[in-house]
Subunit: 304 residues, 2 copies
């Protein structure tokens, strides 16, 4: 399986020793490596009747690669642990591998190693390694009162897609939101760009914007106030919300899995391309919208 | 869960940014990182009625740390992905974390990051990062005819322990072999020592000595002949084998999970401490014992 997943693939120059040995060796030019691991479990994070194996592979890689971007890091390599039932069709494992490679190649890295074991449910554990290229990491704890809060990438699309898919076939998944649940499109280069521009704190929006900005507020000891009207609701999302009778701002403010980036910047900074201001950092604590607490849950809770 | 698993633990100086952010940052002084991931799945690799959660945590960390040693690398950090049922008792997750930390501290590294998600079966994905300290990695492909084959660490103990545990309570697991199934004792420092001594190829014995030396033989394009009498059978193993009516050499030659190291060295090299010669590298192909093919399966096959 590992051989099928890696044979004939081209590794970038940073892969000093690729798959096939006990471990891989990856170049880390500035003497540091940024590392993160994310798990995706069948039935919890994906369903193989809603997503193709390739989409699942891309989604798994994206979750880890977005974590690197949120530190301001550029990706260097992926390692993948795959657990799956012994009778998993080869088309499924080939599809997962193709998706992982597809997402890796979008950011110019290789799949350098992995492990494949038997289990009842398909589970992917993706480790991403990255480089800060000499910069400091952008943590969650650097936000300061007076900073602006900005976001880059899609918000609420995956949640809208999940809602549409959960309702069954009555509502067409097209155009857009269903695909957003299947494969996120994290704005990878926006992470290092924000770091270079002087971002004071940054986080990957995986659990929901309010929940994840709550982590920034707590780690930084500040409050964050968002401006509801700063969020545009795209037409596809508005249509889906109307059809399902829900408030699309719930998706935008609390939907996870899009892997947008949220960051804080000193007020004087000119935001990098595609970042948009959505709020300000305050002296208080917690996250508010137009000065008021949000009613409802702030995002996805794995064990709720 | 992540906070409970990492609060109050001391990180080594190589952990530049520890748990609590989107990713960790680890020092890689020679500009390279060695990286590997291993999965352990409940019901496949461990049973929580045969092992304590702490033993499972130690075993999971050991599997990945042994892979680093087999490259000749010294460990730098661990990352852990944990999938478990939402109703998993806190004592179990605390025990897993304690075991992971215990094994990490045996080798002087920290648990720098992780992910916790819901799933039906307890699954651990342990990523280990390491340093070659300026040396070349010792791969599987460098064995040359005329080299000696040597091993370091326990062989067959975990297999004997599994056999004893599988027979139920009729035979006491003490002394030794049952514990060897529960927690391996890889000879971590023997990996970098072998690399420094000039090992030409090395591998972690996780699937069984014959199977893993088969990987070395294939990757190096050589044959390997082992000398059966070079393997000592410890008394506890001899007793367990007699009680179960099996040949203890089967455990030694085909048992996995002890994470011994096997390596090849130029004939002129003085072997580092605790390494013992068990065979020679030949011009042929495959692995033989006393010049003859081994009858039976060479080791553990995950999908057999």
């Amino acid at each position: 399986l590992i051989r099928r997943a890696t044979a004939g693939r081209r590794q970038p120059p940073s892969t000093l020793l690729g798959p096939g040995d006990d471990a891989a060796v990856v170049a880390t030019p500035d003497g540091r490596v940024v590392a993160t691991v994310d798990l995706l479990v069948q039935g919890v994070h994906f369903r193989l009747d809603w997503s193709t194996p390739e989409q699942v592979g891309r989604k798994a890689a994206a979750a880890s690669l977005a974590d690197l971007a949120a530190m301001g890091a550029e990706p260097s390599a992926l390692l993948v642990g795959l657990a799956c039932p012994p009778d998993t069709p080869i088309a499924v494992t080939d599809g997962l591998a193709a998706g992982l490679w597809s997402e890796a190649q979008r950011v110019g890295v290789g799949l350098v190693g992995g492990d494949v074991v038997a289990a009842d449910a398909v589970t992917l554990a993706v480790t991403a390694l990255g480089s800060l290229a000499g910069r400091d990491p952008v943590t969650r704890s650097g936000a300061r009162p007076g900073d602006v809060v900005a976001v880059c990438g899609r918000l609420g699309w995956a949640a809208a897609g999940l809602a549409v898919l959960s309702r069954g076939t009555g509502i067409p998944a097209e155009p857009g939101v269903g695909a957003a649940h299947q494969v996120p499109e994290p704005p990878y280069p926006a992470g290092p760009a924000a770091a270079a521009a002087g971002a004071t704190a940054m986080i990957d929006v995986s659990d929901g914007l309010l929940a994840d900005l709550g982590h920034v507020a707590e780690a930084s000891g500040v409050g964050i106030d968002l401006v509801r009207d700063a969020f545009e609701i795209p037409e596809q999302m508005r249509d889906a919300a109307a059809a399902l009778g829900v408030d699309p701002y719930e998706w935008v403010l609390t939907g996870g899995d899009d892997h947008a980036l949220a960051a804080t910047f000193p007020d004087a900074v000119e935001l990098p391309a595609e970042w948009r201001t959505v709020g300000t950092v305050t002296d208080g604590g917690g996250v508010t919208v137009d000065g008021r607490p949000h009613i409802g849950r702030p995002g996805w809770e794995h064990f709720s």
